[in-house]
């Protein structure tokens, strides 16, 4: 058993895809680094913090990417974003069985701010193009840096989000909120609160993450295989019915959480019998407990 969280992007690829099957596009030997970092005396990386390519997953042709949290927090700049977009467009050209995104990102790379912002929106549109072509997109969030900012939005443009409890999925990080509105608003040093607010169990209970696994690369691999197989039985494109169902789910969440300020209260409202125990439960015990208390979309594609 190996922790997924502790792996680098380049270690995650062979841990998730079939051994030896992954072919990287524009590998580091091509020396395509960000053109904007040097002027800020910031280091560059010859893969610009993302591995993109195609491989086999359980024998099927799956296109994929892994963001490297160790390089600028996995943040998206001009080249990083363009590699993702190119891979997504090629997945359509080659009629991929699925696209698997191993996300770990702080969002827009501030060192190349405007280019990063536009790039993230291009990634989102390209992901939805892949879905429009009938190809499922699955996002995995289990890295130490979490998945924030624009990539936190992009993750929810996938058909399925797979997380570990340790993964974090949100938009603005706790430090950003604390800086803007004070420590009373969000104490970024209260790690338990940070995980209750953005961690995998909370996202799973709310219905923003569809699969929760233990922090083991085998578990992520198996979950990805099963999620893709499940998606092939249904509609992966955006549909009016699917979005109306999502609208209803998100509206219901606002109603249910009226006046609640703490994630534990939200879990209680969902019917979780002992909310205080949730952070203590192992993944399997948590899933068993959560089965009847999750907020989910009743019908339609996500």
């Amino acid at each position: 058993m190996s922790s997924y969280q502790e792996l680098t992007a380049r270690q995650r690829i062979p841990a998730i895809f079939d051994a030896g099957s992954f072919e990287e596009f524009l590998p580091p030997s091509e020396r395509v680094a960000s053109p904007h970092l040097a002027q800020l005396d910031a280091p560059v990386s010859f893969d610009d913090g993302v591995v993109v390519g195609r491989g086999k997953l359980d024998g099927k042709l799956v296109f994929g990417a892994a963001q490297e949290g160790g390089f600028m927090g996995g943040a998206v700049g001009e080249v990083h974003g363009a590699k993702l977009v190119g891979m997504l467009r090629r997945a359509i050209d080659e009629n991929a069985h699925a696209v698997l995104l191993l996300l770990e990102s702080g969002g827009v790379r501030l060192h190349e701010a405007n280019a990063g912002l536009i790039a993230v929106s291009e990634v989102m549109r390209a992901m939805l193009d892949v879905r429009a072509a009938g190809i499922p997109v699955v996002a995995v969030v289990g890295g130490a840096n979490g998945c924030f900012g624009g990539m936190g939005i992009a993750a929810r443009c996938a058909n399925t989000v797979i997380m570990s409890e340790e993964g974090r999925l949100a938009m603005s990080g706790p430090e950003v909120i604390e800086t803007a509105n004070g420590v009373e608003e969000f104490d970024s040093r209260d790690r338990a609160l940070v995980w209750r607010t953005t961690g995998g169990k909370h996202r799973y209970l709310l219905g923003d993450c569809q699969v929760l696994v233990a922090d083991e690369s085998d578990a992520f691999r198996q979950a990805a295989i099963e999620a893709i197989a499940g998606l092939h039985g249904g509609e992966v494109r955006l549909t009016l019915d699917g979005l109306l169902a999502e609208q209803a789910m998100l509206a219901r969440r606002l109603q249910d959480a009226e006046g609640l300020a703490e994630p534990m209260e939200v879990w209680g409202k969902l019917g979780v019998p002992e909310p205080a125990r949730v952070p203590m439960l192992e993944a399997d015990a948590f899933l068993e407990m959560a089965a009847s208390h999750r907020a989910t979309i009743e019908k339609g594609a996500r």
Partner: protein
């Protein structure tokens, strides 16, 4: 610019847009046909309620008025920075809004974004930036975040960022730089109504922003990199 003055200039044929807690919605007449208008005003931060209200208006248009164009008026200081919004998954509300815009585009609705005052990062990415095309008024402000905050996070001195922001479109705020980068299709001056009619006529589903960024010299690598990945080629050879 005040949204009411903007609406008068955009819609000489009339409109019934109303403001409700900084959320704008209604219908306007453009070149003799109805257009759904949604948006925000007062530089309001986009929280989960406004994102959901905008999504609702778009879904309603797709349901009840197939093919009707949609105009998104953008004025926001960015996403709302609150614990409650994060707890309830603001990224999901933003993604939902973006998906609704995307669905509308694919169902044949021209969706145009117009930054008429401010557009900052999170509030912009699932509105104007996911539309068929996005435009701005010349006096508008577009940026990811202010230079002081950027300096704090990147640990690059603010003076250095200020210097770079003078002529480097990657850092500098403002519509001209987003135009050069391909993030904006154009900047509207003078005849706003006429430019809206033209934009609706030219709206296409394809995402051409990388090509625009390259043509205009603001974003030189994005398109060659994406194409090299797609075609299995090399960037240096192009």
């Amino acid at each position: 610019m005040d949204w009411q003055l903007l609406a008068t200039r955009l819609f000489p044929g009339g409109h019934d847009i109303v403001e409700n807690d900084n959320f704008l919605s209604g219908t306007a007449q453009v070149d003799g046909r109805p257009v759904t208008v949604i948006g925000t005003t007062g530089h309001t931060p986009i929280g989960i309620e406004i994102a959901l209200a905008q999504a609702q208006a778009i879904l309603g248009t797709v349901q009840e008025h197939p093919g009707r164009p949609i105009l998104i008026l953008v004025d926001t200081q960015g996403q709302r920075l609150r614990h409650r919004d994060e707890m309830l998954g603001i990224n999901s509300y933003m993604a939902h809004l973006g998906k609704c815009v995307d669905l509308a585009r694919r169902e044949g609705h021209a969706v145009i974004g117009l930054v008429y005052d401010q557009a900052l990062s999170g509030g912009f990415i699932t509105s104007g930036l996911i539309a068929s095309a996005c435009y701005a008024l010349p006096q508008s402000t577009i940026r990811v975040m202010g230079l002081p905050a950027m300096a704090r996070i990147t640990k690059v001195p603010e003076e250095r960022l200020t210097e770079l922001a003078r002529d480097n479109p990657v850092f500098a705020p403002g519509p001209e730089n987003y135009l050069r980068m391909g993030g904006l299709h154009g900047i509207w001056e003078d005849d706003l109504a006429g430019q809206l009619v033209q934009a609706l006529g030219e709206a296409r589903d394809e995402d051409r922003r990388m090509a625009l960024g390259r043509e205009r010299g603001g974003r030189l690598l994005a398109q060659p990199v994406a194409e090299a990945v797609r075609a299995g080629g090399h960037v240096r050879a192009t």
